[in-house]
């Protein structure tokens, strides 16, 4: 890769070159209302079409993607995304409409939104849905605003200002709760990786607004006490929120509504096979019980006599973004659910679970398992053993790149030291899993015999070990000009 031309597009610019010749206008010219708004000092790259194509094709080859390699990134559900999803989203009836068009001109698009609301409601047992939120964290934020509005309507808005959140939670949970104006109180996990029911019972009281729980939880385990947990919170007068990051493991097997959850979000970009991991945008519909439907973010799509329209729920918490959510993503998720059908939906969860348990069973002699019990769709292992020999989870992850495999999620959840969170997803074959297992065993042996090899990995990637912390804190955003400063 060293001979590859790594210059940015800006640095390839040669004055006077151009990629396209703009055709003469075929409509009458209209002067701009304020021509001073136009800037002429922008440095834009001047390159030919061929140079542009080569540049972006090169970048795509340097990239790591689910279309090229195995991607067992825990908690992210990097499953294969069927190409039919993209084909449907590209249909002109979806791709060439504008969100401000009047409802009667976009009935098909509104119908898709409406049917997806219904399908997500059916799958989760939380029947009232807004697909407005643009990502998981925005879905969380919306859900928490709904919880607050619910308590305010019962004159308990000031009193109930605490969000209970397990110590294993995604960092977005406490962040969303703080943004929604709630005080975060941490609930410990027990020695089996479950929520400590005793601690939860002591913490749940008249200040509890909501308990946020990822299910299966972030160590990839189903909470066996879930019915007791939701009852404790309801008895205390609080609501229970499901972070749907791990919904893939429940599809067709368990409904959040039946487990006692009141509010949830679903990451369409994880569970329902739409692009993410740098390729988004995301989509995080918020789902609630019928009782909470009146608080949903606006708009939702309603239907009367076969006519679809955008409506605003009676006590809506408001609008979260400019228009109707990530519509192109909604079309992809809709396509995927229709493609899978009821039986297919059940097969997703079953295959995801068996794949993760297969990996766990095959690697438990080589790496520590955080909690030695059957997992759901992902397994949290630990490089604790390797750490004793100076090899960290980071080293293991970087070495995987040398073998053409995307690193797993590392150092999360925080309660597991040297965590390696592996989520194979349902779309991988046994051959791929076996190849991954063989590589992990090789790396475990290397960690014993030649730890230096791991410290300096990756050796074969386009970029080797990067100083990620400095890159994030002191980014160079403008190419060579700034780099030269």
């Amino acid at each position: 890769m060293s001979s590859v031309d790594r210059r940015l597009l800006m640095d390839r610019s040669v004055a006077g070159r151009r990629a396209v010749t703009v055709p003469e206008p075929d409509v009458p010219l209209t002067p701009l209302p304020d021509a001073s708004l136009l800037r002429d000092d922008l440095q834009l790259p001047e390159v030919t079409e061929g140079e542009v194509v080569r540049y972006f094709s090169l970048l795509s080859q340097l990239n790591f993607s689910i279309d090229t390699q195995y991607y067992p990134l825990g908690s992210c559900t990097m499953k294969y995304n069927p190409k039919l999803n993209d084909e449907m989203a590209s249909l002109p009836g979806f791709s060439e409409i504008h969100p401000l068009q009047r409802d009667h001109t976009v009935q098909g698009a509104l119908q898709i939104l409406h049917e997806l609301q219904d399908m997500l409601g059916e799958i989760t047992g939380l029947p009232s849905v807004s697909v407005d939120p643009l990502a998981g964290a925005q879905g969380e934020f919306a859900g928490l605003l709904i919880a607050r509005a619910f308590h305010e309507d019962r004159d308990e808005g000031e009193q109930r200002n605490v969000a209970l959140i397990p110590d294993s939670a995604h960092g977005t949970n406490p962040a969303s709760a703080a943004m929604a104006g709630l005080e975060v109180v941490t609930v410990p996990s027990d020695e089996h990786g479950n929520v400590s029911v005793e601690d939860l019972r002591n913490l749940a009281d008249k200040r509890t607004a909501v308990f946020m729980l990822t299910i299966p939880n972030t160590v990839g385990l189903f909470e066996p006490n879930i019915l007791e947990i939701t009852k404790i919170i309801h008895d205390a007068g609080g609501l229970v929120y499901a972070d749907g990051a791990n919904l893939n493991a429940l599809l067709g097997l368990a409904k959040l509504g039946y487990l006692g959850f009141d509010i949830a979000h679903s990451n369409l970009h994880k569970t329902f096979s739409t692009p993410h991991g740098g390729g988004g945008p995301g989509s995080g519909p918020v789902l609630v019980t019928d009782e909470l439907a009146k608080y949903l973010p606006t708009p939702v799509v309603g239907e009367v006599d076969g006519k679809f329209s955008l409506v605003s729920p009676e006590r809506t918490v408001g609008r979260l973004n400019g228009f109707q959510g990530s519509f192109g993503i909604v079309v992809r998720a809709y396509t995927y659910i229709r493609l899978m059908g009821l039986e297919g939906i059940k097969a997703i969860a079953r295959n995801a679970i068996i794949n993760a348990n297969y990996i766990q069973s095959q690697l438990k002699d080589d790496f520590d398992v955080a909690y030695d019990r059957y997992c759901m769709h992902e397994t949290v292992m630990s490089a604790r053993r390797q750490k004793a020999n100076g090899v960290s989870a980071l080293d293991v992850a970087k070495r995987l790149i040398d073998y053409g495999i995307h690193p797993p999620t590392m150092y999360f959840p925080l309660i597991v030291p040297e965590a390696l969170m592996i989520e194979p997803t349902e779309t991988e074959s046994k051959e791929t899993l076996d190849a991954f297992i063989a590589v992990m065993k090789t790396i475990a042996a290397e960690a014993q015999e030649s730890p230096e090899l791991l410290h300096s990995a990756p050796h074969h990637a386009a970029n080797t070990r990067l100083d990620e912390a400095t890159a994030a804190r002191k980014p160079i955003l403008r190419g060579s000009d700034e780099a030269a400063d």
Binding site: G171, S392, A393, L394, M410, Y411, L414, E418, A469
Partner: protein, 127 residues
């Protein structure tokens, strides 16, 4: 062992006072909880800081955490080798991994810090 030649804060920083200058760092418990440190952000020499207020950030492979000063005063020296090689904080939190030297504006705040024994008890409870 937690050195008993210095004082400790609830936020897991230590201060070793020599005359009217305190050397400040994070405890071994903090360094181990954070995991491998990858970035340390410290204020400039000459700036003043207040006891228990934030003075910088420390980033590990797991998380970014704020650093809180165990004492009040003016920074007279900072440990650039900890900035250049953040692993120093993991390897030697009580010696080479020190972060700042601070000329104390008052000695009274030291009474609000813990002894090594009291700090060990705190970390045993936090597990």
């Amino acid at each position: 062992m937690t050195p008993d030649d210095r004082k400790y804060s609830k936020e897991h920083e230590w201060a070793r006072v020599d005359g009217n200058v305190a050397t400040v760092g994070i405890t071994k418990f903090a360094a181990e909880s954070l995991g491998d440190v990858v970035f340390v952000d410290l204020p400039e020499v000459g700036s003043t800081i207040e006891q228990f207020n934030k003075f910088g950030e420390i980033e590990s492979v797991k998380a970014v955490s704020d650093l809180f000063s165990p004492v009040s005063g003016t920074i007279t020296e900072r440990n650039d080798s900890a900035i250049d090689d953040p692993e120093t904080v993991n390897k030697s939190p009580y010696d080479e991994g020190w972060l700042l030297k601070i000329e104390l504006s008052t000695l009274s705040g030291l009474d609000d810090l813990m002894s090594a024994g009291a700090y060990d008890q705190l970390t045993a409870e936090e597990g």
